[in-house]
């Protein structure tokens, strides 16, 4: 019988939540790597038993873990993320040049068809690739060394490359997003990149329509329509229909267009989800009501989804990598909060229930749909 495996990264370890297709009864395993920050855990589309996890610590640095049995056992693989050549400088918070320094891996994106190939987005922003199951990592320096790189500046959470999206149709096309540099596209497998931020408008930077400098929080794509991408920016929800050559705002009737995650329904490319957050200084939902907003029109028109979610005294946040969907017939939607709850909906967001309530702060949520 088919089922799902929810991979949860938290401030103090990783958890694996498993259920059958009904998604009613859950088995919880973890914490794996207890006490470490787990920024991201993701499975290979080519081999669901192969998982990669980014394990990191302010004390002891970066570890990449790999499981070949669906998260039952793990082994550390390579963790040497050396920038190519002598890294230059980017802008520091005070506007002074600051040398590029590796801090951690924010996001792991396994190849769509090769279980040994995986991409890593890191802080300070750079893109790495492994073709041997995570043992050795090589930077693709074309992104970091883009001519605009010296002007990039970190967002409040650091200068992280947090989103990597692989185009399933166009070989070599991929997207990346960096806080606070913006969105970038490669059409040659990550060798060269160009900023794709036309149409973005950010009041927090001197030139509001600049080529780079936008605080993009998250991108999402439906694999059946890869030229359409959605973006949750620091402020504004955006959409492109031309592979990110240009963007338009689709915030519509959202109560606030600040937020972090954005995701797309597994079977309906125009159905998208965001979690509005009050503001960049109030990282909690408006009115203390935790509401997922769904648009079935690809943006502009949004409806609040509240059934099963706390509608009073709720002051958690939902971070950028902490929402995911499964691909069962009734699309499941999942998100984790900084309060340690992981909520699941087995009916595309109409109703919600917590899988767990008291984990450490959730940094990331991914879902595998198992045969």
């Amino acid at each position: 019988m088919s089922g799902v495996r929810v991979l949860v990264g938290t401030r103090k370890g990783a958890f694996v939540l498993s259920a059958d297709a009904k998604r009613e009864k859950w088995e919880v395993s973890g914490p794996h790597f207890a006490g470490w920050e787990i920024y991201h855990v993701k499975g290979s589309p080519a081999d669901p038993d192969r998982l990669f996890a980014s394990q990191t610590s302010g004390w002891f640095g970066q570890v990449i873990q790999r499981s070949d049995d669906g998260g039952t056992t793990w082994q550390p693989v390579g963790s040497d993320f050396s920038y190519d050549g002598v890294p230059g400088t980017h802008q520091w918070y005070d506007g002074t040049p600051h040398p590029w320094e590796f801090e951690r891996v924010w996001h792991l994106e396994p190849s769509l068809d090769d279980p040994d190939t995986v991409w890593a987005g890191v802080e300070d922003a750079g893109l790495f690739k492994s073709t041997d199951g995570g043992q050795r990592w090589t930077e693709l320096p074309g992104l970091r060394t883009h001519r605009s790189g010296p002007s990039w500046q970190p967002g409040a959470g650091g200068m992280c490359l947090h989103t990597i999206i692989l185009d399933p149709d166009k070989p070599g096309r991929m997207f990346a997003a960096i806080s606070a540099a913006g969105a970038f596209r490669s059409d040659d497998g990550g060798q060269t990149w160009r900023p794709v931020n036309k149409g973005l408008h950010s009041e927090g930077i001197p030139d509001e329509d600049a080529e780079v400098g936008h605080c993009v929080h998250r991108l999402a794509m439906h694999p059946s329509r890869p030229d359409v991408l959605y973006m949750q920016k620091h402020w504004d929800v955006m959409r492109t229909d031309d592979g990110a050559d240009s963007w338009r705002e689709v915030s519509g009737n959202l109560p606030t267009d600040f937020g972090f995650p954005i995701d797309v329904h597994a079977h309906e490319p125009d159905t998208i989800y965001v979690v509005p957050i009050t503001s960049d200084s109030h990282h909690f939902p408006p009115e203390g009501k935790l509401r997922v907003y769904r648009s079935k029109t690809g943006g502009d028109e949004w409806e609040p989804l509240t059934k099963g979610l706390p509608q009073e005294h709720c002051y958690v946040n939902v971070l950028r990598d902490a929402m995911a969907v499964d691909s069962l017939e009734d699309c499941g939607v999942y998100f984790g909060t900084t309060g340690g709850q992981v909520y699941a909906s087995a009916d595309a967001g109409d109703s919600w229930a917590p899988i767990v309530r008291d984990l450490p702060a959730v940094l990331s949520v991914e879902v595998q749909t198992l045969p």
């Binding site: 006490g35 470490w36 610590s57 302010g58 004390w59 002891f60 640095g61 970066q62 570890v63 550390p76 963790s79 040497d80 050396s82």
Partner: protein, 109 residues
């Protein structure tokens, strides 16, 4: 402890790891490292990383060799964290009578 037989003449230094690094290195107690030649913090850590490669980058920066900011080195009730890495360690450490402690700094968390 590791069970490897030390090279003739090599010093055996008893290294105590913090709990997280013991887990990572799959050891449940002190690690014996073998140093052939002068026993310094650098040669001890070089030997430790050679015998347990998973610890590379977890104690010192891979390229600069600098101690990570929230890691401390203690021995004989002394904080050696700021001592030159090539200075000889105390004789009782070099003989294995006293351990060389690698400690996660008390920095919250």
């Amino acid at each position: 402890m590791t069970g490897a037989v030390p090279p003739a003449g090599a010093a055996v230094i008893r290294v105590v790891l913090p709990a997280h690094l013991r887990t990572l290195a799959c050891v449940d107690g002190p690690v014996d490292v073998h140093v052939d030649g002068l026993v310094t913090q650098r040669t001890v850590l070089d030997a430790l990383e050679a015998s347990h490669p998973v610890l590379c980058g977890k104690i010192r920066d891979r390229r600069s060799g600098q101690r990570r900011a929230f890691v401390r080195f203690f021995a004989c009730e002394q904080d050696l964290s700021h001592e030159p890495p090539d200075a000889p360690l105390p004789g009782v450490v070099a003989t294995g009578a006293e351990p060389y402690l690698i400690v996660g700094a008390m920095a919250g968390g």
